[in-house]
Each structure stands twice: as structure tokens, then as C-alpha cells.
């Protein structure tokens, strides 16, 4: 394995760790906003580290730029989405717990 491969390996593992953290947070955290926080970790850092790792493998600049674009877009979209979800949850319930009544149910 070349040094580049080692770098990919290490960065990929860190990315995977953040994905794991995001998932665990989503599953374990008590309220909506902390879950939202966990989610952004997976989105921003998890994917970011994986992409950074893959950058060591790409031969061409174009491919590297495309990868960075994908990450940038994901970052951008997820922060907007989280903003929208958060705002929605606030307007909906009026509290920061996010525990809106079970009225989605029926």
C-alpha cells in the first residue's frame, strides 16, 4: 500500500466513525434538536472525510473537483434542510423540545 492509500484508509475510517456517530445520535438523543445536531455531523464531517480520502486516489483534477462539488452541495443542502426542519419544528410546536403531539398519526 502506498502512502496515498494509507491516507485514504485513515480518512475513510474517520468518515465512517462520524457516520456511526450520526446514526447513533439520531437513534439515541432525546429530542429533535440534538438529533438534528447529530445528523449534521454525519452529513458534513462523515461525507467530508470520505471525500477527502478519495481525493488521494483521483488522477485527474476534474474528478477531484467533482468530488469537492458533491461534498459542497451536500453540505449546503443539509444545512439548509436542517434549518428548514428546525424552523418548521419551531413554528409547529412553539417549543424547542420538538416533541410535537402525536397528531401526525391519524
Amino acid at each position: 500500500m502506498s502512502p496515498a492509500d494509507w491516507a485514504t484508509f485513515a480518512l475513510g475510517a474517520i468518515g465512517a466513525f462520524f457516520f456511526l456517530g450520526g446514526t447513533l445520535g439520531l437513534l439515541r438523543f432525546p429530542d429533535l434538536f440534538s438529533r438534528l445536531h447529530a445528523l449534521t455531523k454525519a452529513d458534513n464531517l462523515g461525507l467530508g472525510f470520505i471525500v477527502a480520502g478519495l481525493l488521494f486516489q483521483t488522477g485527474s483534477v476534474a474528478v477531484g473537483l467533482k468530488l469537492i462539488l458533491i461534498w459542497g452541495l451536500a453540505l449546503f443542502a443539509s444545512s439548509t434542510a436542517c434549518y428548514a426542519i428546525g424552523r418548521h419544528a419551531l413554528t409547529r410546536s412553539g417549543t424547542a423540545t420538538g416533541e410535537e403531539a402525536e397528531n401526525e398519526r391519524s
Binding site: F9, T23, L27, L32, G46
Partner: protein, 97 residues
């Protein structure tokens, strides 16, 4: 290196399967939507890894399209619901037919 990619994708897929539990539990629609968001990001991660592993450069385009369209669902959701809430608040029950 091939085995590294496949193990990574496997790990991400397992992650995705585990996150499904949040869709069950909810409790709010926003939680479920967040899970969908996480699914999307994980899927993009798998795609960029596969693009390197197979190798199939076109998969990066697939990932690009995914990230580009991911935000649509979230906005459609918040619009439908926020709109409803605001509407109910501002003008009671007026129909607009």
C-alpha cells in the same frame, strides 16, 4: 484497496439499515424526514466509494444528481406543513377554492 472500499460501503449500508429504527419511532414527521436526509447522505457516500471501487466514473454523476435533488423533498415537506400551520393561524379556516 478493493476490499477497503467494499468494507466501507458495507459499513455505511449497515448504518443505513440501523437508522431505519428512527422512522419507526418518530415521533414527529421531522424526525422521519431527518432520517431520509441521513439515508441520502449515506447513499451518496456509498456511491462515491463505489465509483472508485468498481470503477465506474458515472456513479459520481449519480451522486451529484442525488445531492442536487435531496433538498427538494425537505423543502416540499416544510412547505406543505409550515404553510398549513401559518394558514390556519392567519385566516382560520378559509378555503381558497
Amino acid at each position: 484497496m478493493g476490499i477497503f472500499y467494499i468494507v466501507m460501503t458495507l459499513f455505511l449500508l449497515a448504518n443505513m439499515a440501523a437508522a431505519m429504527a428512527r422512522v419507526f419511532r418518530g415521533p414527529t414527521a421531522a424526525d422521519r424526514l431527518m432520517t431520509a436526509q441521513l439515508f441520502g447522505t449515506t447513499g451518496v457516500g456509498i456511491l462515491v466509494l463505489l465509483a472508485e471501487a468498481v470503477p465506474q466514473p458515472a456513479l459520481r454523476d449519480v451522486a451529484l444528481v442525488f445531492t442536487l435533488l435531496a433538498v427538494l423533498v425537505v423543502l416540499a415537506f416544510t412547505r406543505g406543513h409550515t404553510g398549513q400551520a401559518e394558514e390556519a393561524r392567519s385566516r382560520g379556516n378559509g378555503g381558497d377554492a
